[in-house]
Symmetry: C2
Subunit: 210 residues, 2 copies
DNA sequence: CTGTCAATTGACACTGTGTCAAGCTGGAAG
DNA sequence: CTTCCAGCTTGACACAGTGTCAATTGACAG
């Protein structure tokens, strides 16, 4: 709610983010957004050509605020593939809850709105590149299972990290965020490395609320 | 397209299914549905109170036609937990592409329509029960990893089998259906059994188009 | 012929998006 | 001080889509 002293376009984005992160998050209408920003409906159109554009701009604004690049730094400087995978998966898993409100809105639009779909695809491509980099590091170390080429490993990791999986496990199944993160990390390791040993140990993780 | 000689309500459902399974599947409007069924828009309302109800009824109609219960029979008669898991996962994986058109529509509605959400939740609960049964069979055999209680194993399997994962891997990543099915099956086995041995072998699967 | 049922036609209210035109206002520039 | 103008407001409109209603048609059974 740092929405008092900014200029109108920014205030609109901040209000939109607040709406999207609200608990019973319906897709806000233009009127909702305008009201939340303390501005007339037309004022919103004065700055953003359509609702989709507002939502996409809000996403970008949030990206700026959250600074994912910094969060990924440990992953890029990891000593080996396994550590890189660990760091990347952990960083992403902890990023998801922060962007979920916004992501849910964009995902909802993708079924009807081509522009939203394009914006979403870009985001997913970015994630995919991170996955590919982690997989490439594993490949360099030779720790990728023999049967798994890099493309397939990247696809699998990307699918594993999907926001829908986060939704299913934490929202629908009620998992703690920490349990989600540790389990996904363990599955990534188990699936993408020929780590014969303590698969079982790796999948161990805090029971309900530890 | 067996839509010539049925009664109107059925013809509406069949036309709706055809629209949902069409390649560039947008969410059909009531006019679309009426036109496809060769009937006036109001005639649709004469049989179904809302668009959501048409879609849900179409889902149920398709369920009847596809007879998932029969497809799951091998899973129920499996000799041990591992075989049951295999059979269940395989049956579900091969079921997903058949229901995807319909599922996508219902999923799209869940964000705005409570009734659609309820219908979807029921479907997901059914899937979850199948997962729980397979997991229970593993538990009876004692082949569940020590660190994994039945509830967690069920959650994980359920998430793994989600339609979104199928979409991501086959639609977005372009995997062949067979590759999808074999990989998911292997991941399920690797994650849910303390199968120390040939994890790598299990994850092997046909390269691109074999 | 008469009822009845299914379907049709055409109208309407409502919500939401996006567009347009005219008016208001406060502050900077002359 | 006046003028100007950018930013915002108000209020109207067209359009698409949902869902409702009423009057009408047409066929078929009794």
């Amino acid at each position: 709610m740092s929405s008092a002293n900014s200029d109108t376009p920014t205030r609109i984005l901040e209000s939109t983010l607040a709406l999207l992160e609200a608990p019973g998050g319906k897709l806000p209408t233009m009127s909702d957004i305008a009201k939340a920003a303390g501005v007339s409906r037309q004022a919103v159109y004065l700055h953003y050509p359509s609702r989709t554009d507002v939502l996409i701009a809000a996403t970008r604004y949030q990206d700026q605020m959250l600074d994912m690049d910094t969060a990924l730094a440990p992953s890029r400087t990891a000593a080996n593939g396994r550590e890189r995978l660990d760091a990347f998966v952990t960083a992403w898993c902890n990023h998801v809850p922060k962007i979920h409100g916004v992501a849910r809105a964009i995902m909802a639009l993708t079924s009807t709105d081509a522009e939203a779909k394009a914006a979403w695809d870009i985001r997913m491509t970015d994630l995919r590149e991170g996955c590919a980099a982690a997989v490439a590091a594993l490949a360099r170390d030779g720790t990728l299972p023999d049967s798994m080429d890099q493309a397939k490993a990247t696809d699998l990791l990307w699918a594993l990290l999907s926001i829908r999986n986060w939704e299913n496990l934490t929202q629908t199944c009620g998992w703690e965020q920490s349990r989600y993160a540790m389990t996904i990390r363990a599955m990534a390791v188990a699936t993408l490395t020929q780590d014969t040993g303590p698969l079982t140990d790796a999948l161990a993780c805090p029971e309900p609320p530890a």
